[in-house]
Amino acid sequence: MKAPKYTDEELIARVWDVEEIKKVCAKRVYYVANDWRKKELEDLWVSGEAAKKTASFGRNWGYYVGMDAIEDYYVNQHDKKIEALPGKSHGDGCLFLHPASTGLVYEAYDGKTARGLWYCISQETLPVSESEADARWYMEKLAIDFLKEDGKWKIWHLVIATDLQSEAGQDYMKQKVYLPDEENPAFVEFGTPTIPMLTHNAMYNWLDNYPAPPVPYRTFDEDNSYGPEGHPDYIAEEDR
């Protein structure tokens, strides 16, 4: 696809757009580390009424769709789980580190949306008592569709596709890495999404190539998005 001819002003504006988009993703790394989930939805995600309805948060097992559903899963259910952990105060003994690296970002030629893919060598550590914690590595792809709202880039569709998880400090070769869903902390954490479906099969990892790296594009198309409609196996509600 041939890119349009841009003026110098348009070109530098597009260069800055990509910088700002990467910055949104980088800020999210620190919001996650601070457990600022509600603030993340307020500051970094879409706020327009139409976009809020189609916003989505996907993981290996499906998508939450709409900001209300996302908030219930990502904030309310999460907070309940954290409150149930040992510790005197919210978040004692918790560590949520998901640094995003190797960013690949394309802005649509029309400048209204953008798509990005990052890789995260992550870990989450949750206390099991006041002196011990369960520390886990998570290798995951992070894919985001961004929407420009009032001149600011916002997260619209987000997918975290976990390639593998393992317990820190243990021999990887001797662990059960591909856990049954009910034993997989990431599956248990994800709960019951709006659209339950297998989006990324960690057993075969790269075979399904989901979420796929973005490519240059003219304008947003939900069938080529990181929302549920963009998944190759998505079946529309009326056809389910």
Partner: protein, 241 residues
């Protein structure tokens, strides 16, 4: 902003990213001796902060890097004594840097250049690891932490003014940082490293506790926010009364 100013600001950001890239490459290559003169500001109020204290002022900050060089020399000497068949024939210069391996890759940059173009702020996350020669011999740690810096435009270049390197995890590889970490035994051939110490901090204080199962949820260093001039934003620096 004009097109020219937008280009200039983009170049500022790139230069600051490159500056920190050069910084962590110097750590990787054990070229701590090049860092202060190469990358730091001429200002008298520079500061370098770690989890348990800060070096404040040019003599203190440069003294830290000079001590790191001396530690590298000592590590090399002890390894030479320990491995005479492999290293015995090599000079001190040839062996400088053998042993320590500080990998501090930088991710998730949030950089804000002041509207006046005189200063900038940056925050990075580093999923690092560190192989160090210690009094227990060579050992490797996971080092998960943040680099947070103030930068100043000086003599047509960006320089480090204040820098924080604050870890959440600095824990032996091969063991979980969530459980009791069992240290390796002391080794007599590396005992001289027990007598080595970095210069005392100008200000010794608990800036950031390392992770433990009973540590309160600890926020990342403050994320840089857009600002007009440095007087109107916060500082990553440490001042001395």
């Amino acid at each position: 902003m004009t097109t020219e100013l937008l280009v200039e600001r983009w170049e500022d950001q790139r230069t600051i990213k490159n500056l920190m890239g050069k910084y962590v490459n110097c750590l990787l290559l054990n070229r701590q001796g090049e860092i202060f003169d190469g990358f730091w500001s001429e200002r008298p109020d520079v500061s370098l902060t770690f989890n348990d204290g800060s070096y404040v002022g040019r003599p203190a900050v440069s003294g830290y890097y000079a001590a790191a060089v001396e530690r590298n020399k000592l590590s090399a000497k002890l390894l030479k004594n320990r491995l005479p068949e492999k290293l015995g024939g090599r000079s001190e210069e040839e062996l400088y840097g053998i042993g320590p391996f500080q990998v501090k890759p930088l991710t998730a940059p949030v950089i804000e250049v002041a509207e006046d173009g005189q200063t900038a702020k940056g925050l990075w996350f580093s999923l690092g690891c560190s192989a160090e020669v210690t009094s227990r011999g060579p050992e490797a740690n996971w080092t998960w932490g943040y680099f947070a810096g103030d930068f100043v435009y000086e003599e047509d270049d960006w320089k480090i003014w204040h820098l924080q390197y604050l870890c959440d995890v600095d824990s032996l590889c091969g063991q979980s940082w969530g459980r009791e970490v069992i240290p390796y035994p002391e080794l007599p051939e590396f005992a001289a490293l027990k007598d080595f110490s970095y210069p005392p901090y100008t200000v010794a204080e608990n800036v950031r506790a390392l992770y433990s199962a009973d540590r309160p949820l600890t926020a990342a260093p403050r994320i840089p926010e857009p600002y007009d001039t440095f007087a109107n934003t916060f500082s990553y620096g440490k001042a001395v009364d």
